[in-house]
């Protein structure tokens, strides 16, 4: 599958102090596919996301997006090459309104100083705002766009964060536990939304604990345990893989093969 890989992670290592959090991990994410990155707590999934998005630097290895190395790029430039992310704990700007949070997602598309200093708050019919409103309605978020995000329900804020990530028009969208804390109805809605959002060829990589969600959404799954890659293959084969079963059953019984959450 490497020939059609959008994202390639090659022999990546990362240590915090003496703890090897990610050890010699290599995997790739197929173009236009939906890939899950799973693993027990502390497996290094979020660290992997932070390495890919440049929030932290890696010790060794290579990360390429469409055959171009991105690991030397600072975090703020990675969104410009088409990589956009969400965070495990919702990190919307609490003092900004819903639409302002979404508009922030367009920041990487600003062409020059003229756009940077063009007023966006005064013209409600501006194309930027129109796009934000359209994306919100596509995501099924029905709230007052000028309300501060701080008071909104959890599931709604979670959805707004995905919309914000989509506003940069990424090639690769990486979502850190998008379904965590959602009720079953919201999880199903999110799955439907992500399928429609990726229908036009957007590549998706998600970290997720909800195995039912992963099975419904992702065709390919990568499993990490204690910072090492233990599985890289079709999602359908995860439950029957000996190494994965051992990793999960050793940590917490009755998870792999059981319905619902794995950790």
């Amino acid at each position: 599958m490497s020939a059609d890989a959008m994202l390639k992670v090659e022999a990546v290592n990362k240590s915090f102090g003496g703890v090897k959090v990610v050890q010699d991990v290599s995997f790739s994410v197929a173009r236009g596919g939906r890939t899950a990155l799973i693993g027990p707590n502390g497996a290094g999934k979020t660290t992997m996301f932070n390495l890919i998005s440049g929030v932290i630097g890696m010790d060794s290895g290579a990360i390429t997006l469409d055959e171009a190395r991105i690991d030397h790029l600072p975090a703020r430039k990675r969104i410009g090459v088409g990589l956009s992310r969400s965070f495990q704990n919702i990190r919307l700007m609490p003092h900004l309104s819903v639409v302002e949070n979404i508009l922030l997602g367009q920041h990487s598309r600003i062409g020059g100083l003229g756009e940077l200093f063009a007023p966006i708050g005064w013209i409600s019919s501006a194309p930027a705002r129109a796009e934000a409103m359209r994306r919100l309605s596509e995501a099924g978020v029905d709230v007052d766009p000028d309300a501060p995000v701080a008071g909104l329900p959890y599931g709604t804020r979670k959805r707004i964060e995905v919309v914000r990530a989509l506003m940069s028009q990424p090639r690769l969208l990486i979502l850190d536990e998008p379904a965590a804390g959602l009720n079953p109805r919201e999880t199903a809605d999110l799955s439907t939304f992500l399928k429609s959002a990726t229908a036009d060829g957007l590549t998706l990589l998600v970290v997720e604990h909800d195995m039912a969600f992963v099975h419904g959404l992702c065709d390919h799954t990568v499993v990490l345990n204690f910072g090492r890659l233990i599985y890289d293959g079709p999602t359908a084969g995860v439950r029957d893989d000996a190494a994965v079963r051992e990793a999960y059953l050793g940590a917490r019984a009755a998870t792999v093969g059981g319905a619902g959450r794995a950790a």
């Binding site: 703020r76 600003i110 708050g121 501060p148 329900p153």
Partner: protein, 291 residues
Amino acid sequence: MSGYASGIVAILCINLIFAYAVFITAAAGQLNLGAAGFQAVGAYAAASFSNLGWTPGWATIPAAMAVSGLTGFLLAFPVLRTKGVYMVLATFAFGEVVSGILLQTSLFGGAMGMVVPDYLPLSSLVAGAVFATLLVFFLMATRFGLALRAIHDDDLVATVMGVNVRAMQVAVFTIGGALAGLSGALYAHHFSFVEAQYFNSTLSIFVLLFVLIGGTQTAWGPLAGSLFFTLVPETLRIGGSWRFVIFGAAIVLMMVVRPEGMITRTLVARFRRRPAAVKPVAITVGEPHVR
């Protein structure tokens, strides 16, 4: 207008420009406790150029803004290596250094201060205040302003969204320096005299209070803060020598009642929209992971 009233308006205009200088960095989450240093740079630059015989008299104003703006730009690099309380201390130290240099330099008159030959009338101060107010309102309405507010809330996420956080911070230090310089230059030309002792740390503390008590979330905050801090002590004159005690109590009360400042975004939004347009927000009970 009586001499007393025009004196109050003059101070109000200078305080307002000064407050916007501090606000523009505070909007991005950086507290400047050395603002008096920037104001002093602007005031002394204008005084020096005026003494050199620049004509027309107002030409010293943009020049003073350029000098204090450049000072802000250059100071941004060492100061932005610090965060939080250390940044506050670094800016405070800057203010003290400027004050010390001015006192020790005979070229600037030392402790004797400097006389400023060219007088600018109250209308110039009002024009300056209107300019600063419009500039900051405009900046806050742009994507630049949105990025500043994003940095204030979460600089890491702002970075991931593609915001060049460092460049933004340097830019606001430069703009803030130039605005503080404008307030200083207008002060120098209107009162025709500058002395280093005036630009002391108490002044820096007061202007930061204007901004924090007015509110850092919208450009209305410094306006409210400057009005409050300039006019309330005057109206309290009837209380005689107790007025600063009453004023201090009013500040404490304000911090208790409105810790995020007098003017918040929610307050502005409430005035802007008709009540009918406000949709009720569902309250969900027992939801996990609420930040």
